[in-house]
Amino acid sequence: MEFEATRHCPRWRLRTWARRSGALSCALAVAGCSGVQSALDPAGDDALRIYGLTVIMTVGATLIFFAVTGLLIYAIFAPPERRAWLGGRNTIVLGGLAFPIIVLSMLLPYGLIVMRDTDVPKAGALPIEVIGEQYWWRVRYLGEGGRPAFSTANEIVVPVGSPIALSVTAADVIHSFWIPNFGGKIDMIPGRLNRLNFTAERPGIYRGVCAEFCGDQHARMAFDVVALEPAAFEAWRENQAKPAPEPDLSLLVRGRELFRAGGCGSCHVVRGTEADGRFGPDLTHVGSRRTIGAGQFPNNIGTLAGWIANTQHIKPGVRMPSYGSFTGEDLRALAGYLESLK
């Protein structure tokens, strides 16, 4: 009885609400601290340095905020004779002038040193070029003499423990390249090469995004970063440099014929076939990618078929038109062929 009566008391309700909202906030905060797209879960040294700077500044700013708020409340509510020292010359000079000057004078060089060390290219770094296009990412791996060895799209595969030297630019409008788990965000500007260096310290799959509004599908312009162990990366790179595999089933042969007859090769390249278009993503090994549509859907026959037939419905404004005239059987063959390009 007593317990039931207590439950209706406003103080009990307030306490319960505070407990529940506190638990919810903690759960959300913890959930936000990890994951494939979080600046609070650094996966490399450079990101860790930036994270350290963020923590120091956030904690410092929070402490200063609460101290100033406390003093403000004290100044309002304390008796005049007790709060008089707040208006004294020493308080103003020490708290209002000396303290902010000392804090900012320490933070400025510290922040600059962190950013400088993050920007330094490492010797022997693996060069990768990334070009932002509306609304996808062209990724080029360079071979001997800095020439492109092969291209891929919407997926950057890197070896764990090796420094990566990214050169980024844009083909049409300004984009911004950002992998939160690896720190720095950098603008992609047409006609200009910007550079970003990072090292993945642990294997995993991370998510990058376009961080500069670039058009109506800006929010659907993401990519995967796959950090592999060095041996697995070498195997991946070797496979990607090869031409497309020959289809070994009649359905896939038909899919390849539909790809050719449908004119897909005027925009897309599939190395080892006559398809040599450079306008759209390189599809030589499209089946090996995790996602399609710049990180929008898992890559499988169903989503590939849906994408081909309804591109403008799924992602309105992209350069690829919808090819809704294919029959269901043709779509299965075409999507099956693309999915087989591992």
Binding site: I101, L104, S105, L108, P109, L112, I113, M115, R116, D119
Partner: protein, 119 residues
């Protein structure tokens, strides 16, 4: 405005004027020198961009330091004698502005010696 008042206003704002000049010189020199690909040229044993920024910063600090010393001297002088509230306000403000300007000029020069010149 009398000549005396003009001088007081200039003294009060000397730090801000020096800061603005330093700002213009630092950004102008960096953009021009980096744009013309002179990043590797040297002057006085330093990279030309750093040397330009150092000269601009030292000049601004020297000018502002002199203005600060003068404001401080005037401030002590006003404490000893009777002056109008307007004069007192301008002199006190001059001490603060010129003092703060010394710090911001220093802050503006520091990055040149930590970050690469034409990154």
């Amino acid at each position: 405005m009398t000549a005396l008042r003009t001088g007081q206003v200039l003294l009060m704002l000397a730090g801000l004027i020096a800061w603005a000049l330093q700002f213009t010189l630092v950004y102008g020199a960096t953009s021009t020198l980096c744009g013309r690909e002179w990043a590797n040229a040297t002057l006085l044993g330093l990279g030309i961009v750093q040397a330009s920024i150092l000269i601009a910063t030292l000049a601004a600090l020297a000018g502002t330091g002199a203005a600060f010393a003068w404001s401080l001297w005037e401030y002590r002088w006003t404490e000893a004698r009777q002056t109008s509230p307007a004069d007192r306000f301008m002199i006190q403000t001059g001490v603060l502005i010129n003092g703060f300007s010394l710090i911001v000029i220093l802050w503006q020069g520091i990055p040149a010696f930590i970050l690469p010149a034409c990154a």
